[in-house]
């Protein structure tokens, strides 16, 4: 691309006036990324199709095929009653999404509050940190039996477990975030006459935000992981329960649909957390060069 690049006068180093997303789109098309990505996806689905549907190689013959699964997913009247056109599909999705997001949001609010308190007061941290450190190594899924035995009802144990998965991670990352704030910002705030609440809202929370959002990304992933396990053991509805039920009743195509849906919802949830993070932390935008 040996265009002659005319030196642009320094005074007005103007970005072309076209909208930024058009620029990103044109840059993407010119790079090799989309073409290799397409190649990769073809190889993956091609292998699935050849190994399972066509040649039924070795153990692959036991697995659900690519074509039947996609057909089931898209058909208006699916054999086992679950496709993008049936209400049952969306009821399971809603059950899982409701559980994950109610647990995630409450864990975020409580987790950040406790994390900030632990970061702020050394006595509170002294009291609570040892307990946290003792409970943290216990895998979340190991809490399932206790949750089922102790927590009454059907929904509560599942939401409780998903809450736990996000709770520990959020507390720890908030604590890490508060401790990472340079002492100089507290000193500047105090000498500028900030009250304690002002320091909390204008220094601690925004300062800890980068770490908090690293925690929230991990927490969202952990929520979906734990939800599926909890639903398999004690759920009535929800994608995790459905995965097990379709396996039990040998409806393998539907099982693949549910797994794909879980993957999609997991990806969208993480993308949502990243999006919210970018919005709240616009100040972290790279320097003027607009990275």
């Amino acid at each position: 691309m040996a265009q002659v690049i005319a030196p642009v006068p320094t005074a007005e180093i103007a970005l072309r006036s076209t909208a930024p997303w058009i620029i990103r789109a044109r840059r993407l098309l010119r790079s090799s990324r989309p073409y290799y990505a397409a190649l990769g996806l073809c190889m993956f689905f091609g292998a699935w199709f050849l190994l399972v549907d066509v040649f039924k190689v070795w153990r692959f013959r036991e697995l659900p095929g690519l074509v039947p699964s996609v057909k089931e997913w898209l058909s208006p009247d699916p054999v086992y009653g679950v496709s993008i056109f049936t209400a049952e599909y969306y009821s399971h999705i809603w059950a899982s999404v409701y559980r994950v997001y109610s647990a995630f949001i409450s864990a975020t609010i409580l987790g950040i509050a406790i994390g900030v308190l632990m970061g702020w007061s050394r006595v509170f941290r002294g009291l609570t940190f040892p307990i946290l450190e003792m409970l943290r190594p216990i895998p979340i899924l190991a809490w399932i039996p206790l949750a089922i035995l102790l927590v009454p009802g059907r929904e509560a144990p599942i939401i409780g477990l998903t809450f736990l998965a996000a709770f520990f991670v959020t507390i720890l990352n908030t604590l890490l975030g508060v401790r990472s704030i340079d002492e100089v910002y507290f000193r500047a705030a105090r000498s500028l006459g900030f009250s304690n609440t002002a320091i909390l809202f204008h220094v601690i929370v925004p300062g800890a935000l980068p770490y908090i959002f690293i925690g929230l990304q991990i927490a969202m992933g952990a929520c979906w992981f734990s939800l599926v396990a909890a639903e398999i053991v004690s759920g009535q509805a929800g994608l995790g329960y459905k995965v097990w039920e379709t396996y039990y009743y040998v409806q393998y195509e539907t099982m693949v649909i549910i797994m794909a849906t879980l993957g999609l919802l997991g990806y969208l949830s993480s993308a949502l957390v990243r999006f919210v993070g970018k919005r709240l932390m616009r100040w972290r935008v790279r320097l003027l060069a607009g990275v």
């Binding site: 090799s32 990324r33 290799y36 990505a37 190649l39 990769g40 996806l41 190889m43 993956f44 153990r59 692959f60 036991e62 697995l63 050394r122 006595v123 941290r125 002294g126 009291l127 940190f129 040892p130 307990i131 003792m134 409970l135 190594p137 216990i138 895998p139 899924l141 190991a142 809490w143 399932i144 039996p145 206790l146 089922i148 035995l149 102790l150 979906w224 992981f225 939800l227 599926v228 396990a229 398999i232 053991v233 994608l239 995790g240 995965v243 097990w244 379709t246 396996y247 393998y252 099982m255 549910i258 797994m259 794909a260 879980l262 993957g263 999609l264 919802l265 997991g266 990806y267 993480s270």
Partner: protein, 273 residues
């Protein structure tokens, strides 16, 4: 030095005190207080009628049942089997994950081709793979190991990619100028610089591996700590449940400590601050 420490140390002005004071910090004091009160509340939960803790068997009963359990072979077999599954699944995840991660970090085409697949498969919770794993793998043991493998694989893969592609460009440029061949660049510059991220990936991966062993044994396993935990759920033995949970917690803690030691051995320059 906080006020509390200041007046403690002032009362005994000897040099010896300086060394003791370093341990007798405020945190240690508060830690003992908090754990102590919880243990006491737990023990006398029933008479005091404390909401959550009263449903649990008192601490003393748990200690008694643990004595029985610790002497039973089932318990220790459970440990061995779970550890065997963890090690095989975890090691496989490193042996496959690290090389692929390095390839994807250093070879642009393979990254651009493989990354979409990673983005599709990674968000699917490994527990959701259990049915497929049971169908595909001929034996139960292999299906559990596959789930453990999945748990640790994605984490170490992404950490390796992250580590290898963010090597400080000045290291690469300095090495290039000094006359390094591509082989030198990989073995003497890129790989050592990536080791810390790989170790982080292993530590996090180990945590998730233990989560997965519990889930996999819950559904597909016939033995192991996880299965023991589910059995105690079936027979409503809360005390045994708690002991199994604590044992898994200790096992998880020990294995991440092993990873940390491995990390300080493989990347000694890290802790030399």
């Amino acid at each position: 030095m906080t006020a509390v420490e200041a007046n403690i140390s002032r009362s005994m002005p000897t040099r010896v005190w300086r060394r003791i004071a370093r341990y007798l910090t405020l945190e240690l004091f508060l830690g003992i207080v908090s754990i102590g009160t919880i243990a006491v509340l737990w023990e006398f939960a029933n008479p005091l009628g404390i909401p959550v803790l009263s449903n649990l068997p008192p601490l003393s009963e748990i200690v008694r049942t643990s004595q029985q359990l610790l002497t039973s072979d089932l318990y220790w077999d459970g440990w061995l089997l779970s550890i065997r599954r963890i090690t095989s699944g975890f090691l496989l995840a490193q042996l496959i994950g690290v090389p692929i991660g390095l390839l994807m970090a250093l070879h642009r085409a393979s990254f651009e081709a493989a990354f979409p697949i990673v983005e599709i498969l990674r968000p699917i919770p490994p527990v959701a793979w259990i049915p497929i794993s049971i169908l595909f793998w001929p034996t139960r043991e292999l299906s559990v190991i596959f789930i453990v493998f999945l748990g640790a694989f994605w984490i170490v893969l992404l950490n390796t990619i992250g580590g290898a592609s963010n090597v400080d460009p000045n290291y690469r440029r300095a090495a290039l100028s000094l006359g390094s061949t591509p082989r030198d660049m990989f073995w003497r510059i890129i790989l050592p610089a990536t080791i810390p991220s790989i170790v982080t990936g292993m530590a996090v991966g180990m945590g998730i591996a233990w989560e997965m062993v519990v889930a996999a044994e819950m559904v597909a396993g016939r033995t192991g700590l996880g299965y023991l935990l589910w059995q105690s759920l079936e027979i409503n033995a809360i005390a045994q449940c708690i002991i199994c949970m604590i044992s898994i917690g200790i096992a998880g803690f020990l294995s991440s400590e092993i990873i940390r030691l491995f990390g300080s051995f493989v990347a000694p320059w890290q802790r030399m601050h």
